[in-house]
C-alpha cells in the first residue's frame, strides 16, 4: 500500500493527535466531575495525583514528541515513560493488596503487559536495551500483533467490568474514554514496533543484495581468470 493511502489507524500522526485529544478530555472531565461532587481542594489535588498524574505525564510525552526537541531526545523520553509505566505497575500491584477484585487484577495484568510491550517496542533495540541483553529475553519471543490483541481484549474486559460496576453516568463516560485511550496507546506502540521491524527488514534486504552483488562480481572475475588461463 502506498504511504499516502494509509488508514487513520495506521498513521502515527493521527493516532498521536487522537491520544492527545482524548487525554485532554479525560483530564478535564475527571476533574470537573470531581468538583461537581463537591470535593475540596485537597481531595481534587489528591485525585489529580492519584488518577491523572500518569495521564498528565503521558500527555506531556505525546506533545513533546510532536516537537523538534522531543524528536531529538525520543529515546530518552521513552526511558522516562517506561519508568512512569513501572511506577503505575507498582501502584496497581499494591492496589491488589488494598482491594482484591476482578477490576484490580485486570488492571495489574494490563499494566504489566503494557509495560513489557513498551519496553519490547521502544527500549529493546536501543543501545541500552542491547547492553542489558533485552534482545534475548522471553518478552521478545511474543509477536507484536499478539501483544496488541491481548491488550485490546484485556482493555475491553476492563471496560465491561467497569460498566457493570459503576453507578453514575459520569463514571460511564470516564470508563469509555479511558478504554479508547488505552487501545490507542497500545496501537501507537504497535505501529512503532511495525515501523522498526520494517526498517530492519529493508536494511537486511539491502545488505543481502550487496552481498549477492559482491559474490557475483567475484564469480565473474574468477570465470574470466579461468578463461584466460585456458587460453594461455
Amino acid at each position: 500500500m502506498n504511504k499516502n493511502e494509509k488508514d487513520w489507524f495506521d498513521s502515527p500522526n493521527i493516532i498521536t493527535s487522537l491520544i492527545i485529544g482524548f487525554l485532554i478530555v479525560i483530564i478535564i472531565l475527571s476533574q470537573s466531575f470531581a468538583i461537581q461532587n463537591h470535593l475540596g481542594f485537597a481531595d481534587v489535588f489528591r485525585s489529580i495525583l492519584n488518577h491523572n498524574s500518569i495521564y498528565l505525564i503521558t500527555l506531556a510525552y505525546f506533545i513533546l514528541i510532536k516537537t523538534k526537541v522531543g524528536k531529538k531526545y525520543f529515546d530518552y523520553l521513552n526511558i522516562i515513560m517506561s519508568v512512569i509505566l513501572l511506577l503505575a505497575l507498582i501502584a496497581s500491584l499494591f492496589t491488589i493488596f488494598q482491594s482484591f477484585s476482578l477490576a484490580s487484577i485486570l488492571s495489574l495484568c494490563s499494566n504489566l503487559l503494557i509495560t513489557l510491550y513498551f519496553i519490547y517496542a521502544f527500549i529493546s533495540k536501543t543501545v541500552i536495551g542491547k547492553d542489558l541483553g533485552l534482545t534475548s529475553t522471553p518478552i521478545v519471543d511474543i509477536k507484536n500483533s499478539q501483544y496488541f490483541y491481548v491488550l485490546c481484549i484485556i482493555y475491553s474486559v476492563i471496560l465491561l467490568v467497569n460498566l457493570i460496576s459503576v453507578s453514575e453516568f459520569n463514571d460511564v463516560i470516564i470508563a469509555l474514554l479511558e478504554a479508547i485511550y488505552s487501545i490507542l496507546f497500545a496501537r501507537y506502540v504497535y505501529l512503532y514496533k511495525e515501523f522498526i521491524d520494517y526498517k530492519d527488514q529493508v536494511e537486511s534486504t539491502k545488505e543481502k543484495a550487496a552481498n549477492d552483488k559482491k559474490e557475483e562480481t567475484k564469480k565473474t572475475k574468477e570465470s574470466k581468470k579461468d578463461k584466460e588461463d585456458k587460453e594461455v
Partner: protein, 119 residues
C-alpha cells in the same frame, strides 16, 4: 509525505552506552560522610514511601448511603509527595556534604601555600 516515525528516525539522538554512563557517574568521587548518608537515606526513604502509600490507602469508591469508603487503592499521591520531600531533604544533606568537601579542599590548599611560603 513523511510520517511521524520517519521524522523521529531522522532526527533522534542515540542513547549513550551503559558503560559510558556508569563511567561518567563513578568518574570522580570519594564521597564524604554526609554525601553517602544522603544516598543511603534517600534509598531508605524511597522504600518507606512505597510502604506508606500502602499503609495509608486512598479511597476510590464511597458508599452513597453511608458515605463510607467501600474500596481503597494504593495511595500514589502520598508516595509521590513523600519521595519529593525526601529528595529535597537528602539534596540538602548532600549539599552540606559538598560545602564541607569544598571547605576542606580550600583549607588544604591554604595550608599548602603557607607551608610553601615558610620554606
Amino acid at each position: 509525505m513523511k510520517d511521524l516515525f520517519d521524522e523521529i528516525e531522522e532526527q533522534k539522538k542515540e542513547l549513550p552506552k551503559l558503560k559510558k554512563i556508569s563511567n561518567e557517574v563513578t568518574k570522580r568521587h570519594t564521597y564524604n560522610f554526609y554525601q553517602s548518608l544522603a544516598f543511603w537515606l534517600f534509598a531508605f526513604l524511597f522504600i518507606t514511601g512505597i510502604i506508606l502509600g500502602n499503609v495509608f490507602p486512598a479511597c476510590s469508591e464511597v458508599s452513597q448511603v453511608l458515605s463510607t469508603c467501600t474500596r481503597t487503592e494504593y495511595n500514589l499521591s502520598l508516595t509521590l509527595l513523600f519521595w519529593l520531600g525526601s529528595f529535597v531533604f537528602c539534596s540538602f544533606i548532600y549539599a552540606i556534604g559538598e560545602i564541607v568537601r569544598l571547605l576542606n579542599s580550600i583549607n588544604d590548599k591554604l595550608s599548602n601555600n603557607i607551608k610553601g611560603g615558610k620554606k
